[in-house]
């Protein structure tokens, strides 16, 4: 006899309750990440840029920009496309946004 089909939507509701729902802190973190990624996409909309250039355009620290650009690169949303001095250039990938 096969097991009953897993109802993930029902399980997710229970899981959500067990986790105590989404905290305000977590919602703020997610919002901030979405805004950061949006700002990076906008900074790259005009063409390839280095991390310091993206940092300057977005007003965000270089460390934060690098971390998010590398995350986008890992998941295929950004690609490396050359070098300018001691820095690599990054561009948005088609359909990657």
């Amino acid at each position: 006899m096969s097991e009953p089909k897993r109802d993930w939507q029902k399980d997710l509701k229970v899981f959500r309750e067990r986790m105590g729902g989404l905290s305000e802190e977590k919602k703020a973190w997610a919002r901030e990440q979405r805004d950061t990624l949006k700002a990076i996409r906008q900074a790259l909309a005009g063409g390839p840029a280095t991390i310091p250039q993206i940092a300057e355009r977005t007003g965000m620290p270089g460390k934060k920009v690098l971390w998010h650009v590398m995350a986008m690169k890992r998941y295929g949303k950004v690609a490396e496309c050359g070098q300018a001095g001691d820095y690599y250039l990054y561009e948005l990938k088609e359909g990657g946004s």
């Binding site: 959500r16 989404l22 991390i51 270089g62 998010h68 590398m70 890992r74 690599y88």
Partner: protein, 435 residues
């Protein structure tokens, strides 16, 4: 998923190189082995390293075949993402309680397609890349992970169900909970490995404050072709570093942070990483500031000379402090021993702290074992039985007994497996005599 039996001849704690080798060597002698690993994959520290010294062989190329051998061995069962709760002596062996943490993914059903990971829109610091890279809230630990099954991280999960919606096998299981398991074992081999001293341990080095002061495991990942950046870059702004410094004994041989011993591997991994930087970036200067270079193993002295001939600067000096200056560059106040103790401020754009090696796990009552003052497992007869712990039937291998390199860890794992096999045979013989 591995079907867990009620009894095993040997329990191996830790799925790093020492634990895997001990499991293979014990199973190779005909014994049934259960390997327990706290992380979601076996492989330990070694699978995250770029190269090994002194051969400069690819570390994961040596480690992953062994991971596969362990996972497919007829006499080895593997439990990942599982902690030891306690082991208590029972009859001639031990009763072991384990706690399997929830992955929120049904291992038996998962095909490792990564569609859940690709559907998750959130990024969290990737442990495998020492936080320098990112991963989704549900993720396969890395490309060589065994098993190739994702784990959901509730700390970063936004509970949106995107992963479950994308899963073609309906194997995301939000109802999963931690599970307690009880097994009987005849003997135990402890191979719980290492951690590094905290980055902030030496306040004057600012390892926890300066973006471009890096830990050596992070540098391993940065140098790896499957690392967070794909190139050697510095974390503050993605710049190709042109001047890299290694600060030796940055967490060892230092009573002030409670690590008076030598961590043994730092000189060699610093030389190895320095060579790899020179190979990847011929015009990048690399300087190793050290108290003395300890190149003790087979072929190590030659490796030290090779590093120098490849342009690595090895400077006898004590680094007093590291200060962040403009653009994230770092100024090192250095006492140059070979120049009569002259003090100089030298600028670099990336610094690696060769941190100390400390025990990966402390038993704290979970095992009836004694540890030394330094936290490593005590070995009562180090000269004659180096794999025997303070308790009968429990053996120890790898860095769990003290800092050591990969070859020594493998040798010790073999010794621990042999001691366990002899112990199991003795127990069987005496049971036979009594019957």
């Amino acid at each position: 998923m591995t079907k867990i039996k009620p009894f095993y001849d040997g329990l191996v704690l830790g799925g790093g190189i020492a634990g895997m080798q001990a499991a293979l060597d014990l199973a190779g002698q005909g014994f049934e082995v259960l390997l327990v690993e706290k992380e979601p994959t076996i492989g330990g520290v070694m699978v995250g390293l770029n190269k090994v010294f002194p051969t400069l062989d690819c570390s994961s190329c040596i480690c992953t075949p062994r991971m596969a051998e362990v996972a497919h061995h007829d006499r080895i069962s593997v439990l990942c993402y599982t902690d030891l709760v306690r082991a208590r002596r029972r009859n001639a062996g031990f009763e072991v309680i384990l706690r399997k943490k929830p992955r929120y993914v049904v291992e038996e059903d998962c095909i490792g397609c990564s569609l859940c990971e690709l559907a998750c829109p959130y990024f969290a610091p990737h442990e495998f890349d020492q936080g320098l890279g990112a991963r989704a809230a549900i993720y396969i630990p890395h490309g060589n992970a065994i098993p190739q099954v994702p784990v959901l991280d509730p700390d970063y999960c936004m509970l949106d169900g995107n992963c479950a919606r994308a899963c073609p096998k309906n194997c995301i299981d939000f109802a999963q909970q931690a599970e307690e398991l009880s097994v009987g074992v005849g003997s135990i081999i402890v191979a719980t490995g290492l951690r590094l001293t905290p980055m902030g341990a030496k306040k004057q080095y600012g390892g926890d404050r300066h973006a471009n002061v890096m830990n050596p495991l992070a540098m391993e990942r940065v140098q790896s072709s499957n690392g967070p950046y794909g190139h050697i870059l510095r974390p503050s702004d993605g710049k190709i570093p042109r001047s890299v410094a290694y600060v030796q004994c940055a967490g060892s041989r230092d009573q002030s942070i409670g690590v008076p011993y030598c961590s043994r591997v730092c000189c060699m991994y610093a030389l190895k990483q320095a060579i790899m930087i020179r190979h990847q970036r011929h015009d990048t200067q690399v300087t190793i500031y050290h108290m003395d270079i300890r190149a003790f193993g087979k072929g190590y002295e030659q490796f030290y000379r090779r590093a120098q001939s490849e342009g690595v600067r090895v400077v006898k000096a004590k680094v007093a402090r590291i200060t962040e200056v403009e653009n994230g560059d770092l100024s090192l106040r250095v006492e140059l021993i070979d120049e009569g103790g002259r003090v100089a401020d030298i600028r670099h754009d990336l610094v690696v702290l060769s941190q100390g090696t400390i025990p990966g796990w402390r038993p704290e009552g979970a095992l009836p074992l004694e540890v030394d003052d330094d936290g490593f497992f005590a070995i009562p007869d180090i000269a004659a039985r180096p794999a025997n712990s303070t308790a009968e039937g429990i053996f120890v291998a790898g860095v769990a007994t003290g800092p050591k390199d990969i070859p020594d860890s493998i040798v010790e794992a073999g010794a621990a497996a042999m001691e366990a096999a002899m112990y199991l045979d003795r127990v069987r013989e005496s049971a036979g005599e009594m019957a």
